[in-house]
C-alpha cells in the first residue's frame, strides 16, 4: 500500500475504501484522528499514521471508542478539524459520550465520525445497523457508495458539520471499506492548522462558542432540532444525491450506500434501463424530504434497496403517510414486503431477484445442464471451518484450559470475549469458551457468576480476554470483581497485538500508532495494583500452565489473573522471527486410526499444520503450513511427533 500522503493529485490509484477515507481526512485538513481497531474499519488509522510523518496530523489508537471520540471532540473544541473511526460495535461504546455531544454541539473545528458496519457479519459478532444512532441523537448522516465517493463525502461532511455545529456521521459497510478500486486523489490543503485554543473567556452572548456542557438541556434541545432542519435543507441539494433513469419510471428504486451499484447493475442486467430508475441517496438522515417527495410523484411503485435495517424505507414511508392522499397510489417494496432481507449482505443477485419478481421477468444466468453440474459440484465440496493459525498461542492456551478443567474435575467453565480467541467457542478452542458478547463482557459475567457460591454454584469460574481487550473494557470489570470479592480466574491471552484486526499497537506494546516509543501500561502491574493475584505463563509450556491453572482454580476466594504471554504467530512472521522447531512425524510410532479420539492431533488438536498422509495413513506435518511452534510434540500420546530445535 502506498503512503496516502504522497499520492499524486489527479492521478488514478487503486485504493481500499478505508484508505480513501483516510485520504479524505487529509484532504479535509483534519488535524486530529483517533480510533480503536475493529474490522471493517481497521485500516483507516494505520493509513493516517503512515501519513503523519509527511503531514501535521496527530494520529492515535485510543484505548476504546468512547475515549477515541472524546479525544477527537477535544480537537474540535479547540478549533481543529477532527476525525474518529470505529466499527459498528464501537458506536455503542462511544454512544454514552455522543448522546451528550449532540446537546453541546462541537467546537470551532468540524467533527466527523466514520463508522463501518458489517452486513453479513464476516468480521463481527453482531450485525447491528449503526445508522440508528444518528437518528437517535438527531445528528446528520451520509452513506458513500464507492471508495471515491467516501473520500469526497468525508471532505463535505466537514462543511456540513461546521455549518450546523454538529458531529456528522459517515457510515460505510465492509464492502465499501474493503473494496479496492480506482480513486483519484485531490489536493492536500497548504494551510497550516489554526492555532489550537480552548475558548478561554466565558462569553455571555455566545455561550455556544465558549462552553461545552450538555446541561441545562432545556436550553439546548430545541436548538438541536433547528440544526437538524438546517442540515435537511443542506441535504436537499447535496451533490451526493442523484437520479438516473426515465422521467416517469414504472418502478423507482431508492438506494443508498454499497447497494447503489447493485441496483444499477441489476437494472442493466435485466435491460430495464427504460422502465426503472434509481434515486441514490447519499444523505440519509435527516431525509431530504422535498427531493424524495418530488420523485414519489413520478411513479406508482417504489423499491427500497439498503443493507440491514429498513432505515430509509421507514423514513420514506413515514413521509408518504404525511403526504397522503397524494401518495395513496404508491406500492412499496423492500424489506417490509419480503423482497429483500433486513439482515445479511445484499448483492446484485439479490436486487435482480427482487426486480425480476416485481417486474414479472424470469432470469436464468445459466442453462439447466450446467446448473445440474453446479449442484453436483457443490455436493462434493466440503465445508472449511475457520481455525486459529498454525503456531497460534491461543491454541496452546485453550489446550491448557481444556486439560486443566478436566483434571480439576469440577465442571469449570470459561466466559469468552471478543477477539481471535472468540474461536474458543468452537472446535479450534476445543469448545472451551462458553459465552461471547461485548468487549470485556466475559470478565463482567465471571464477576457475577463468581458471587453465586452462596446459591450453590461450586464450579470454577474462568474468563478470558485479549491484551487489547483488557485495556478497552476489562479493567472496570476486573476492578468490580476485586472490589466485590468475587471468585474467578481471568486469563489474559497476551499476544502483544490486536491480532484479530491486523496487529495494531495498544497500551501494552510500548509503541504508539505512529511508531513512537510509548510507556508500557503493564498488565501485571495493573492487575496487582487492583488487588488480584497474578501469575504469568508461556502457554507453550503446557505442564507449567496447567499446574498454574489448577493452583489458581483451587483458591477459594478472590480474583486471580493468569497472563498467558506468547507473541502472535503472525506478528512473529511479520517480524521475520524464525520457527523454533523443525517438525516431523515418526511413522513407526504414530498410532494412526487407533489413536485417541480417532487421531488426536488432526481431529481434536486440529492445528492446520498437521495432516494425514494419504499413502501411509499416518499423521504428517504439512510443510507449507507448519509454523514450527513445537506444541504438537507435547500433545501426541505416542510421542510420534518429533521436534528438533533449530
Amino acid at each position: 500500500m502506498a503512503n496516502i500522503a504522497t499520492l499524486k493529485p489527479g492521478s488514478t490509484c487503486l485504493l481500499m475504501g478505508n484508505e480513501a477515507v483516510a485520504r479524505g481526512v487529509l484532504e479535509a485538513g483534519a488535524g486530529v484522528a483517533s480510533g480503536y481497531p475493529g474490522s471493517p474499519s481497521s485500516e483507516v488509522i494505520p493509513a493516517l499514521a503512515e501519513a503523519a510523518s509527511q503531514t501535521d496530523i496527530y494520529v492515535e489508537w485510543s484505548t476504546n471508542e468512547k475515549v477515541a471520540v472524546e479525544v477527537a471532540a477535544g480537537g474540535s473544541f479547540a478549533g481543529i478539524r477532527s476525525f474518529c473511526v470505529m466499527k459498528q460495535n464501537g458506536a455503542n461504546v462511544a454512544a454514552d459520550f455522543i448522546v451528550n455531544l449532540n446537546m453541546t454541539g462541537i467546537g470551532g473545528g468540524g467533527l466527523v465520525i466514520f463508522i463501518s458496519d458489517d452486513p453479513g457479519g464476516g468480521t463481527s459478532n453482531n450485525e447491528q445497523d449503526s445508522r440508528t444512532i444518528a437518528k437517535w441523537i438527531d445528528n446528520p448522516l451520509m452513506e458513500p457508495s464507492s471508495a471515491q465517493e467516501a473520500k469526497e463525502m468525508i471532505k463535505w461532511a466537514y462543511e456540513v458539520s461546521e455549518a450546523v455545529n454538529l458531529l456528522t456521521f459517515v457510515r460505510g459497510v465492509g464492502r465499501i471499506s474493503y473494496t479496492r478500486s480506482n480513486v483519484v486523489p485531490g489536493e492536500l490543503p497548504r494551510k497550516a492548522q489554526p492555532e489550537a485554543v480552548f475558548p478561554e473567556i466565558w462569553d455571555r452572548n455566545n455561550p455556544r462558542k465558549s462552553r461545552f456542557t450538555s446541561g441545562p438541556f432545556p436550553v439546548f434541545h430545541a436548538p438541536l432540532h433547528e440544526k437538524l432542519e438546517k442540515a435537511r435543507e443542506i441535504f436537499e441539494t447535496s451533490p451526493f444525491n442523484s437520479y438516473t433513469g426515465p422521467e416517469k419510471p414504472e418502478l423507482l428504486i431508492i438506494a443508498c450506500g454499497a447497494s447503489t451499484s447493485y441496483c444499477i447493475e441489476g437494472v442493466n442486467e435485466l435491460n430495464l434501463e427504460d422502465r426503472v430508475s434509481v434515486l441514490k441517496l447519499g444523505t440519509t438522515w435527516p431525509l431530504p424530504e422535498k427531493l424524495v417527495a418530488k420523485h414519489l410523484k413520478t411513479t406508482c411503485k417504489v423499491l427500497f434497496v439498503e443493507e440491514m435495517d429498513p432505515f430509509v424505507e421507514r423514513s420514506v414511508m413515514e413521509l408518504a403517510a404525511a403526504l397522503l392522499p397524494e401518495t395513496a397510489h404508491l406500492t412499496f417494496f423492500g424489506a417490509r414486503s419480503g423482497h429483500l432481507t433486513p439482515y445479511g449482505e445484499l448483492s446484485t443477485d439479490s436486487v435482480i431477484g427482487a426486480l425480476a419478481d416485481i417486474m414479472g421477468i424470469t432470469y436464468q444466468p445459466r442453462d439447466r445442464a450446467y446448473e445440474e453440474m453446479c449442484v453436483e459440484a457443490a455436493a462434493l465440496v466440503p465445508g472449511r471451518p475457520i481455525n486459529m493459525c498454525p503456531g497460534c498461542p491461543h491454541r496452546a492456551t485453550y489446550w491448557a484450559v481444556k486439560n486443566g478443567l478436566s483434571l480439576d474435575g469440577r465442571n469449570g467453565f470459561v466466559c469468552g470475549d471478543v477477539g481471535c480467541y472468540s474461536m474458543g467457542f468452537a472446535g479450534p478452542g476445543f469448545y472451551q469458551a462458553r459465552t461471547m458478547h461485548a468487549m470485556g463482557s466475559g470478565t463482567g459475567l465471571a464477576s457475577g457468576l463468581g458471587k453465586l457460591g452462596r446459591f450453590g454454584l461450586d464450579q470454577p469460574v474462568l474468563a478470558i480476554c485479549g491484551d487489547s481487550t483488557f485495556y478497552h473494557a476489562v479493567m472496570p470489570a476486573l476492578a468490580n470483581g476485586v472490589y466485590n470479592n468475587s471468585n474467578f480466574t481471568l486469563l489474559i491471552a497476551d499476544n502483544s497485538a490486536t491480532a484479530m484486526t491486523g496487529f495494531q499497537p495498544h497500551p501494552g506494546t510500548g509503541q504508539t500508532a505512529t511508531g513512537e516509543p510509548a510507556k508500557v501500561v503493564e498488565l501485571e502491574a495493573v492487575c496487582r495494583a487492583m488487588g488480584a493475584t497474578v501469575e504469568t505463563c508461556d502457554p507453550f509450556d503446557l505442564p507449567k500452565t496447567i499446574d498454574t491453572l489448577l493452583k489458581m482454580m483451587a483458591e477459594e476466594s478472590g480474583v486471580k489473573v493468569v497472563i498467558m504471554r506468547h507473541m502472535c504467530q503472525l506478528v512473529k512472521g511479520k517480524r521475520k522471527i524464525a520457527p523454533s522447531w523443525k517438525m516431523h512425524v515418526d511413522g513407526s510410532k504414530c498410532l494412526a486410526d487407533a489413536c485417541g479420539c480417532h487421531r488426536l492431533c488432526t481431529r481434536l488438536f486440529g492445528c492446520p499444520g498437521l495432516m494425514v498422509d494419504g499413502e501411509t495413513g499416518k499423521a504428517a506435518i504439512d510443510e507449507a503450513l507448519c509454523a514450527g511452534c513445537g506444541l504438537c510434540a507435547q500433545i501426541c500420546p505416542a510421542h510420534a511427533i518429533i521436534g528438533e530445535e533449530v
Partner: protein, 201 residues
C-alpha cells in the same frame, strides 16, 4: 488476450483459495497493474474471520467504461484462478459457466477439524468438465523447491500473466514487484514470477 485489450465488458476474475494463502496479495498486484493500464477495476476480497483458514475469494471486475460493484454475479465469472482444488470447485459451482477458463494449483490444502477431503481425481474431473479450458500449475510444489511456500503466489501470478488471460503483459507487473519487494528479496520474487511464466509456456 493482448495487453491493454479487454475481450469482454465487464471481465470478471475470481481468485479462490484458503485464508492465509495470500490471495489478497495476488489480487492487489493484478488490480494495481490494471489500474496502471487505464482500466476501471473493483477488487473485493473476503475479509474477516475467514482469513483464518476458511475459504476465501477475491473478485476482480474489469471494465474500460465504468466502475462496477465488486462482487461477481452468479454464473458470470470469466476467469478463475484457483489456489486450491476444492476452493476452485466451490467458486465454479457459484460463478462458473460453460465459457470459464480455470488456472488451478492442484495442491490440496486440507480442512481442519477432521473434515474429510473429497477424492482429488473426482474434484479435478469436475473442474475440467465445468471449465472451457483448465490448466494446472504446481505452484506450491515449485515454491517449496525454491525454499518457501510463500513464493507460490508470485509463481501463480507469473502463470496467469504467461497464460495471456488478462489484458496485462509482464512489463505491467515488473515495476509493481520492484516496488513491493525492495532490496535483495526482489531477485527471488522475479525468479518466482518467471518460473510461473515458464510453467504455462
Amino acid at each position: 488476450m493482448r495487453p491493454g485489450k479487454l475481450e469482454k465488458e465487464p471481465y470478471n476474475v475470481i481468485i479462490a483459495g484458503v485464508g492465509g494463502q495470500g490471495n489478497v496479495l495476488l489480487s492487489g498486484f493484478i488490480g494495481a497493474a490494471l489500474v496502471n493500464e487505464g482500466f476501471m477495476v473493483s477488487v473485493a476480497d473476503t475479509f474477516g474471520v475467514s482469513q483464518r483458514g476458511g475459504s476465501v475469494a477475491s473478485h476482480i471486475k474489469i471494465s474500460r467504461k465504468t466502475l462496477y460493484s465488486s462482487v461477481t454475479l452468479k454464473g458470470k465469472a470469466d476467469l478463475l484462478i484457483g489456489m486450491e482444488p476444492v476452493e476452485t470447485l466451490r467458486s465454479l459451482a457459484e460463478f462458473g459457466n460453460p465459457g470459464i477458463i480455470s488456472i488451478v494449483n492442484p495442491r490440496p490444502f486440507y480442512p481442519s477439524g477432521g473434515v474429510a477431503y473429497p477424492d482429488l481425481g473426482e474434484v479435478r474431473r469436475a473442474i475440467e468438465r465445468m471449465s472451457s479450458r483448465t490448466s494446472y500449475v504446481n505452484v506450491t510444489e515449485e515454491a517449496l523447491k525454491m525454499g518457501n511456500p510463500i513464493y507460490s503466489n508470485i509463481i501463480l501470478l507469473g502463470a496467469v500473466i504467461g497464460a495471456g488471460v488478462l489484458p496485462l503483459g509482464e512489463e505491467s507487473i515488473f515495476p509493481l514487484l520492484a516496488e513491493r519487494f525492495p532490496g535483495e528479496i526482489l531477485e527471488i520474487n522475479l525468479r518466482a514470477f518467471r518460473k510461473g511464466i515458464e510453467l504455462v509456456s
